[in-house]
Structures are given as structure tokens and as C-alpha cells.
Symmetry: C6
Subunit: 77 residues, 6 copies
């Protein structure tokens, strides 16, 4: 049983907007998995949210996850 079971039961979403939300959620949860200590994550967050270079690193991850989800949904065509 994977801790992602509840988080990603499927890559299929009804709309592009929901696909985008899913991409952001997956990116965040993966970081959480790799750093399971909430206190450490908490201490990392301000850094992450206030440094534009890191915000853009996060934006790139979301872009890659979204590409996968968009393909999965046949681009909601």
C-alpha cells in the first residue's frame, strides 16, 4: 500500500484547471515524502516562498507534472 494511494487515485481530471491543481499537489506531496519531518519542512517553507529562484524551481516541477497530466487527459480536447 502506497502513501500516494489517496493522493493520486487517477491522473484523469474533468478540466484543465483540476489538472493544474493536481500537478501542484503531486509536486508538493513528493517534496513532503522526501522530507517527512514536518518541522524541517516548515522551516524550509518561508525560504521556498520568498526566494524567487526557488519559486521558479517549483514552477518548473509543476510544469513537468502538468505536461504528464495533460497528456493523460488527452489535453481535455
Amino acid at each position: 500500500m502506497s502513501l500516494f494511494d489517496d493522493l493520486i487515485p487517477t491522473l484523469i481530471t474533468e478540466t484543465p484547471a483540476q489538472g493544474r491543481e493536481l500537478a501542484i499537489m503531486i509536486a508538493r506531496k513528493t517534496i513532503a515524502t522526501m522530507q517527512p519531518d514536518a518541522d524541517v519542512r516548515g522551516s524550509l517553507r518561508p525560504d521556498y516562498a520568498e526566494d524567487s529562484a526557488k519559486l521558479m524551481q517549483a514552477g518548473e516541477i509543476v510544469a513537468i507534472e502538468f505536461a504528464t497530466i495533460a497528456a493523460a487527459n488527452n489535453y481535455w480536447r
Copy 2:
């Protein structure tokens, strides 16, 4: 209801140019979502716009978003 509903109702655009605009908009709004405090974003922007390394990080995100949108539109062939 997702805050992206109004922003990305669809990935389909009439022209490559509109697809490019959409890629830029999606990249910007994702950053905004991850840093919802407008004051902090405002203080980040000059940094982002005047540092060529960060401008290029932004350019890479846009390139990845555009790849997804172009595929969604079957490359406007």
C-alpha cells in the same frame, strides 16, 4: 472549485501566438498560487525581472508549458 477555472478553461487556442500567451500566463499564475501574498510577490518581481539567470529560469518554464499547449493544439497544423 479551482482558482484556475477562470484562467485555464481550455488549453485549445486559435493561434500559436495565443498559445504562447497562455503559456506565459499559466507560468505566472502558478507562481502567484505558490506565493499568494501580493506584497511578497511585488518585492520579488524586480529581482526576477533584472537578473538574467532568473529571467532565463522563467523562460524555461514558459518553454515547457508551451510544449504542452502546442501538443494540445496538435501544433496548429
Copy 3:
């Protein structure tokens, strides 16, 4: 005989969640292969887990591996 034989017998998984776990595992094992000394890896880990920039580098690798695995599974559609 490859040391990946036991780790990646297949890219096919039953669920997106298992695909995500596989992406994380493959990313980790590749790092381990390139730095086979466990002591050195051990000394690297705290750095990796507490520095948000490196956590996000790791997140990007996982995103790329997941894209491959998702395609392999035809997105679990």
C-alpha cells in the same frame, strides 16, 4: 547482469500511486549507483533533505521519471 534487474523488472504498475513510488525509487537508486560509497551518501543525505533547493532538484528528477513511467502505463487510463 545489471544491478537494476531487481529494482526495475518492469515499468508497468497497477496504479498511478505505485508508478509514483517507482519514480522515487528509481531516482534514489540512480544516485546510489553513481555514488556507491554508503558513508559518503549518508553524509550527503542531511544536506539533501534540509536544503529546499536540493529537495526541489530531487522533485524535478522524480517528475521526469514519473513522466516516463506514466507514458509506459498509458497513463493508467
Copy 4:
């Protein structure tokens, strides 16, 4: 009306060489869009052109744009 209308009327080119030129142009114009002040861009350029790390960042963006354009043209097969 988008400011990209004149720049990217189409992703289709006659040759791989023209596709490459288009990739470089799109990458440059996107940077210009995100930093519309020509004086600031001018002051950024020397930095961009003389720092090998930034040149390679630019090269990576062009590689991603070219991948999209090549797919659009069915690889000029």
C-alpha cells in the same frame, strides 16, 4: 491581439535550419516580453553573452523550444 502574432504566425517551417532559427527567436522574444524595458535588457545582455553558465541556460531553453517545433513539423521527415 497578441504581440506574438507577427512573431509566431505558425510553427511550421520548411527546413530544420529554419526551425532552429525559430526556436532561438521565440526564446529571445519571450525574455523580451518578460522584461520589456530595453535598457534593462541591454544591460543584461553582456552578462548573458559572456557567462558560460547563462549561455548554457539559454541553450537549454532553445533545445526545449526546438523539440516542440521539430514535433510540429513531424521532424521534417
Copy 5:
């Protein structure tokens, strides 16, 4: 005659594990090609193997090469 002829006669492998090994080998040999001086490479290696940021840069390259090889093999489905 290319120096890659012996290294990459084909992208087709029997198993995902062999595909992974090929991805790692190709990534390494490309670095070697760009820096043909073995002494310089030797002096670079400890740096590469002990710095977690660089290890992850290497991991990202391998992830991209593996994506290509996996597609070539139709994901060993």
C-alpha cells in the same frame, strides 16, 4: 566514423534494467567526449561524486536519457 559507434550501436535493450544502464553509460560518455582529458576528468570526479547538487544534476541527465531509451523500447511493454 563516430566514437559513439561502439557505445551506442542501438537504443534497443532487452529489459528496463539494461535500458537504465545504457542511459547512465551514455550520460557518462558524453561528458567524457566534451572533456577528453582524462586527468581533468579525474580531478573533476571526486567533486561530482561528493557534492549532492551535482549528483542530482547527473541524476537529471540520466532521467532524460532514460526517457528516450524507454520510448525507443516502447517501454518494454
Copy 6:
């Protein structure tokens, strides 16, 4: 007339090895296009060849170009 006409008449190659050489050549020539002053490029090269982080940046660009060329050649299957 594009300066890439002689360099990339086609993306089709006979072998994966030739495709790899093409990927490396395209990556190099793009850098050259963006920094046309040979003296500046010359002064950049040692830096590029001796710094493992930059070598890996170059390796990532080659990996992306190779992905495009491999797809163009239907992976030489």
C-alpha cells in the same frame, strides 16, 4: 538563408551514434550563435570544460537535443 542550413540539413541519421554526434554539434553551434565572438567563446571554453557543474549543464542540453533527434529517427528501430 539560415546559418544552420549547412549544419542541420536534416535530423535523420543512419545510426544512433551519428544522432548523438549531431546532438552534440547542434548544442555547440547554438551556443556559438548566441555568442558569435570567437575570442569570448575561447575564453569561456576552459571554464566550461573544467567545471563539472557546467559540463553537466552541457550534458543536459545534449540529452534534450538527442531526445528530439531520436524521435525524428523513430529511434533507429
